[in-house]
C-alpha cells in the first residue's frame, strides 16, 4: 500500500498478536500434551472437570472484564447447560429395562419415588440428542436474553445487576431443590451412564471427553478472541468506561450488554454440559450463590481482562483447592479467602496482569534486541 509503514501497523487489526499466538500454543500444549502425559486417568478427569469451569471464567472475562457487567449468577447458566445434558443422559439411563423394578418403568428413578407416573412434558424432548445439544445452548441463552434485556433496558448495572443475578441464583436453587419430582431435588440428577449408547464412565470415555472438552474450550477461546478484536469487543470496553458516550455514539447499549451476557451464559452452559458428561451427575449445588462467586474468582485470579488468563486462573485455583484440601483441609478456606483479597488488593489484573507487568517486558526486550540492532546501525552511520 501507499500508506507509510508506521501508521499502517496502527491500523492493523490482526486476529491475534504474536504473543497471543504463543499463549494459545502454550495453552493448547498444556491441555493436549502435558496434562494427558503427566496425569493418571483420575487426575486427568479432574483436570477435565476444572477445564469445564474455565468456560464460565471465559464468559466472565467477556461480560465482566470487557463489558464491566459482573454476574454473580453464572452458576445458573452452568447449571442450565448441565441440567439439559443431564436430562438427556438420565432419560437414556432410565430405559424400561434398567428401571423395571420401579412402579412406573421407563422414567427417571427420582420421579418414580415422587409418585410421578408419566414423563413430564418438558422432559420429553430431551430424549433426542440433537434437541439436547441445541437446548444446551439455546435455553441458557434465552434465559440470559430475557433477564439481560429486562435489566439492561432499564439501565440496571454494576452492583445492582450483581445482586439481582445473585438472587436469581438463589431462587433457582430453591426451585430445583423444591421441585424434586421434576429435577431430582437436592441430590440432583445422578447415575448417568451412557451418551447415545456410549458408556461415559470408563477411563477411555473420560479421556475422549477430556479432549473434546479441551477442543471446545479452545474453540470458545478463539470465538471470544474474535469478539474481542471485533468492533463489538471495543464497544464493550468503551461501554465499561463511558456508557453514555457509547449511547451518544448511536449504539443501543442494552443490546450490546445483553449480547455479552448471553455469550457468557452460553459459554457457561457449554461448560456445564461438559461437566455433566465428565462428572456423571448434575446437582443444584452448582447453581447457587457460592459456586457462582467462586467462578468469578477464577476469572479474577487469571486476570479479568485476559481470555487465556481465565483458563490458567481456573486451573490454578482448582489445583490449589484440591491440593490444599487434600493436605490441609482446615486451612483451605483461609487460603481461598486470602486469595480473593490478595488478587483484589494487589493484583487486580490477576495472573495476566503479573505476566504483563513483569514477564512480558523482559520477553519483548529480548525479542526486540536483535531486531533493533540493525536499525540502529544506519542511525549510527548518519
Amino acid at each position: 500500500m501507499i500508506r507509510p509503514a508506521s501508521p499502517s501497523t496502527v491500523h492493523d487489526n490482526p486476529f491475534m498478536k504474536p504473543m497471543e499466538w504463543v499463549s494459545l500454543a502454550l495453552l493448547a500444549a498444556v491441555i493436549f500434551l502435558v496434562l494427558p502425559l503427566c496425569l493418571d486417568a483420575f487426575r486427568l478427569n479432574l483436570a477435565g472437570k476444572y477445564l469445564s469451569y474455565a468456560f464460565v471464567a471465559l464468559g466472565l472475562v467477556i461480560c465482566w472484564g470487557f463489558g464491566g457487567i459482573l454476574s454473580l449468577g453464572q452458576g445458573v447458566f452452568f447449571g442450565l447447560g448441565g441440567y439439559c445434558m443431564a436430562m438427556y443422559l438420565k432419560l437414556e439411563a432410565s430405559s424400561v429395562e434398567n428401571t423395571k423394578i420401579q412402579s412406573t418403568p421407563g422414567i427417571p428413578d427420582f420421579m418414580d419415588w415422587n409418585q410421578i407416573t408419566a414423563l413430564p412434558w418438558f422432559w420429553k424432548p430431551f430424549a433426542s440428542l440433537p434437541f439436547t445439544l441445541i437446548a444446551v445452548i439455546v435455553v441458557p441463552a434465552l434465559f440470559a436474553f430475557v433477564v439481560g434485556t429486562a435489566m439492561f433496558r432499564r439501565r440496571v448495572g454494576g452492583t445492582y445487576f450483581a445482586i439481582i443475578t445473585q438472587a436469581i441464583a438463589a431462587i433457582l436453587t430453591i426451585l430445583i431443590v423444591g421441585q424434586q419430582g421434576y429435577t431430582g431435588g437436592i441430590n440432583g440428577i445422578t447415575d448417568l451412564r451412557t451418551l447415545n449408547g456410549w458408556d461415559i464412565r470408563t477411563d477411555s470415555a473420560h479421556n475422549i471427553l477430556y479432549f473434546v472438552n479441551g477442543a471446545l474450550l479452545v474453540a470458545c477461546i478463539l470465538f471470544a478472541q474474535y469478539v474481542k478484536r471485533s468492533k463489538l469487543g471495543r464497544i464493550l470496553v468503551a461501554m465499561r468506561d463511558k456508557e453514555d458516550r457509547v449511547r451518544f455514539s448511536g449504539y443501543s447499549v442494552a443490546g450490546f450488554k445483553t449480547f455479552a451476557f448471553c455469550l457468557a451464559a452460553v459459554f457457561a452452559a457449554i461448560g456445564g454440559a461438559m461437566f455433566t458428561l465428565q462428572v456423571g451427575f448434575m446437582s443444584p449445588s452448582f447453581v447457587g450463590i457460592v459456586p457462582s462467586i467462586e467462578m468469578v474468582i477464577y476469572a479474577a485470579v487469571g486476570g479479568r481482562l485476559s481470555l487465556f488468563g481465565a483458563v490458567w486462573g481456573t486451573l490454578l485455583v482448582n489445583w490449589a483447592k484440591t491440593t490444599f484440601s487434600e493436605s490441609f483441609p482446615e486451612l483451605w478456606l483461609f487460603g481461598l479467602g486470602g486469595l480473593f483479597i490478595l488478587v483484589v488488593l494487589a493484583f487486580p489484573n490477576g495472573l495476566a496482569g503479573i505476566y504483563r507487568t513483569y514477564v512480558e517486558p523482559r520477553l519483548t526486550r529480548r525479542a526486540k534486541a536483535p531486531e533493533s540492532a540493525p536499525t540502529a546501525l544506519p542511525h549510527a552511520a548518519e
Binding site: 445492582y160 445473585q166 436469581i168 431462587i171 486451612l331 478456606l333 486470602g338 488488593l345
Partner: protein, 308 residues
C-alpha cells in the same frame, strides 16, 4: 381453609399473624440497617455482612457463658451487656477491615464484593477453628423466654417483642445520627462529594472508617439479637446475605426510609404468603416478586428523581 374455625380463633390468629409479620419486619430491618449504611451510603458491597452478624452472636454466646459461671446474679441482664459488646466487637473488626481492605477499594465497588467475600470465608474458618464446626446454643435469661398471654388465645412471643423494641431503638438512633447529627452530615457530605468534603475540612478517612464501623457494629447487634430466634454457627451468616442485600436494594440503596419500607413490604408479603401457602413456595414467590419489581423499577422503591 377457615371454614372449620370459630371467629375468636380466627381473630386471634389474625392478630398473632400480624405480630409474626411485625417480628419478621423487625428482623429484616435489623439485618438490613447496617448494610443500608455500608452499601447504601458508602457503596461498599459487604458480602461479609452476615459474618459480622455472627460475630455479634458469638460474642453473645461468650457473654452468656461468662455470666453463667462468674456472675450468675447478673445473668438476667447479661443480654444488654452482650449487645453492647457485640456492637463494640463487630464495629472494631469493621474498622480494622476498613483500614486494611476497604479503603483501597472505594473506587472499585465491584471489587469490594470479591474482597469481602474472601473476608467472609476467612471469618467463617476462624469461627470454625475457635468455636468448633457445630452450632452453639446460646442460653437466654428466663425473662426473654416464653410469651405474653394477651387473651385466652392470643400469645405474643417475648423475644419477638424484644427484637421489635431493639429494632425501633436502633432505627431511631441511626436515623438521628444520620439525619440530625454533625457526623451524619459529614457522612453524607463525604458520600456525595469526597474531594469537596475533604476540602472543607472533613477528615474523610476517619468518617469512612467510622461509618463502616457503625454499619458493622449494627450488624453485630443484629447478630446478638438473632441468637434469640436463629442459629449461631460458623456458616449461619451466609443464610442472611441474599435477603439482606435484596432488602437494601429493593428499598433504594441510598435511602434509610426506603430500607425500612422495603423490609416492611417484603416481610409482610412473605409472612402472609407463608400462612396461606407452603414455606418454600412463599419464599420463591417473594423473591421472584422482589426481583421482578426490581427489574421494572431498578432504582428501588424510594429514590428521588435527580438531575444527572
Amino acid at each position: 381453609m377457615f371454614g372449620d374455625y370459630s371467629l375468636t380463633d380466627l381473630s386471634s390468629i389474625f392478630v398473632m399473624q400480624g405480630f409474626a409479620g411485625l417480628i419478621l419486619f423487625s428482623v429484616y430491618t435489623l439485618m438490613a440497617l447496617g448494610l443500608a449504611i455500608i452499601f447504601g451510603q458508602m457503596g461498599v458491597i459487604n458480602m461479609a455482612h452476615g459474618e459480622f452478624m455472627i460475630l455479634g452472636a458469638y460474642v453473645t454466646y461468650l457473654c452468656s457463658g461468662f455470666f453463667q459461671t462468674h456472675l450468675p446474679a447478673l445473668f438476667p441482664a447479661y443480654f444488654f451487656v452482650a449487645m453492647a459488646l457485640a456492637f463494640v466487637a463487630s464495629g472494631a473488626l469493621g474498622m480494622l477491615v476498613e483500614w486494611a481492605l476497604i479503603r483501597h477499594l472505594y473506587k472499585r465497588p465491584l471489587d469490594t464484593l470479591l474482597a469481602t467475600w474472601g473476608l467472609s470465608l476467612i471469618l467463617q474458618q476462624t469461627y470454625r477453628t475457635v468455636f468448633g464446626a457445630r452450632e452453639v446454643g446460646v442460653e437466654l435469661p428466663s425473662w426473654l423466654i416464653g410469651s405474653v398471654q394477651v387473651t385466652d388465645s392470643i400469645e405474643i412471643p417475648i423475644n419477638g417483642m424484644f427484637v421489635m423494641a431493639i429494632t425501633t431503638l436502633i432505627t431511631l438512633g441511626v436515623a438521628l445520627l444520620m439525619y440530625r447529627s454533625r457526623f451524619g452530615a459529614q457522612v453524607r457530605a463525604v458520600v456525595q462529594n469526597r474531594p469537596m468534603a475533604g476540602a472543607v475540612g472533613i477528615d474523610t478517612e476517619k468518617v469512612d472508617r467510622l461509618t463502616f464501623g457503625l454499619g458493622c457494629g449494627i450488624a453485630g447487634i443484629a447478630g446478638s439479637a438473632f441468637t434469640m430466634v436463629g442459629s449461631t454457627g460458623p456458616t449461619s451468616g451466609q443464610l442472611y446475605i441474599v435477603d439482606t442485600f435484596l432488602i437494601v436494594v429493593f428499598g433504594g440503596a441510598a435511602s434509610l426510609l426506603g430500607t425500612i419500607a422495603s423490609a416492611f413490604s417484603i416481610s409482610q408479603t412473605q409472612s402472609t404468603l407463608e400462612f396461606f401457602l407452603s414455606g418454600s413456595t412463599a419464599k420463591v414467590i417473594t423473591l421472584l416478586a422482589v426481583v421482578g419489581i426490581l427489574m421494572l423499577r431498578p432504582q428501588g422503591l424510594f429514590t428521588l428523581k435527580v438531575r444527572r
